[in-house]
């Protein structure tokens, strides 16, 4: 009984945070997906709690980017969009990073020609901090993210898939 009361309280808190996220103008799609993830994963629930407790605007944005990363990762898996991943040799890591960096730089040029990151955020429903993180890092891009960006930019899917897509 105690556990179910505690669980109910936690759930109510998640929905309160979802309302606050909408008030902060995060897209409905993002908020709904965050809540769904939080219902399945204790860690995602914690991320939402951290969003509500974030000490600065930057910390808030970092959590938004974390949540979007998790949403994309779990979406990819649930749609069985996993390809067969290569085992990576340590000596190849520098080349992989350069490859990904070059690809993202090229993509960023197209984004900038079409209104920049904020326009892309509006078109894709992906929070701006998440897109900034995507373009500023050399982490392996996720297929679901690339497809959303491709549609927003009017690119064909084959124009946007790189060797290292996850």
């Amino acid at each position: 009984m105690k556990n179910s009361k505690k669980k109910a309280k936690e759930l109510v808190r998640i929905f309160e945070i979802a309302v606050a996220m909408r008030a902060a103008r995060l897209s409905p799609e993002f908020v709904v997906k965050s809540v769904r993830l939080a219902l399945d994963y204790d860690g995602a629930r914690e991320l939402m709690l951290l969003w509500a407790q974030a000490p600065s605007a930057q910390d808030c944005e970092d959590v938004e980017a974390d949540l979007q990363d998790e949403i994309d990762a779990h979406h990819s898996r649930s749609n069985l969009q996993r390809g067969k991943r290569k085992v990576v040799r340590f000596d190849d890591v520098e080349l992989i990073a350069k490859d990904i960096e070059g690809f993202k730089r090229h993509l960023r040029r197209i984004v900038d020609q079409q209104g920049g990151i904020s326009a892309l955020a509006h078109k894709t429903g992906i929070p701006q901090p998440s897109l900034s993180r995507f373009f500023n890092s050399v982490s392996v891009p996720r297929r679901v993210t690339l497809y959303k960006i491709a549609r927003a930019l009017g690119l064909r899917d084959d124009e946007i898939i790189t060797n290292w897509v996850a």
């Binding site: 994963y41 204790d42 860690g43 995602a44 914690e46 991320l47 709690l49 951290l50 974030a54 000490p55 910390d59 970092d62 959590v63 974390d66 998790e70 898996r77 996993r82 991943r85 290569k86 085992v87 990576v88 040799r89 340590f90 890591v93 520098e94 992989i96 990073a97 990904i100 960096e101 890092s137 050399v138 982490s139 392996v140 996850a166």
Partner: protein, 134 residues
């Protein structure tokens, strides 16, 4: 123990290298030898693992221990004197390297521990990608 490199770990390593936080030299001389200690038959009996400045349990937002979650720690890494952490899930006698990060603040640490909880749940459900092993 087997030491397995997940996709999450690869992503975080790429990011740390890209941000010039972790040099190849630091990785080869400091990080990798320490992580390789996990390959020992009974790694946790190695004296290093009883040093809380090197190894300890992962804790959640409420400071409770995260089951199967651990952190390996390096202090004053590189020229920027970064606090480097590696979040590891130990499940069924395998050490899954999950994510490396710089502990810039307690808040950053809490975010990473929340993500580790998600990783652990995914690994237990068989929902993960491996990119290699040590």
């Amino acid at each position: 123990m087997r030491v397995l490199i997940t996709e999450w770990a690869l992503d975080s390593y790429l990011d740390l290298r890209h941000r010039n936080i972790l040099s190849t030299s630091d990785f080869k001389r400091k990080v990798r030898p320490d992580v390789e200690l996990l390959k020992l038959e009974m790694p946790l009996s190695h004296p290093k693992f009883s040093n809380p400045k090197f190894w300890g349990p992962a804790k959640d937002l409420n400071n409770r221990v995260i089951s199967k979650g651990f952190k390996m720690k390096w202090h004053n890494m590189g020229s920027g004197k970064f606090q480097l952490r590696l979040a590891i899930a130990v499940i069924k006698n395998s050490a899954f390297l999950c994510q490396g990060y710089v502990k810039q603040s307690e808040f950053v640490d809490r975010r990473e521990m929340a993500k580790l909880r998600i990783r652990i749940q995914d690994i237990e459900q068989g929902d993960f990608e491996l990119r290699g092993s040590l």
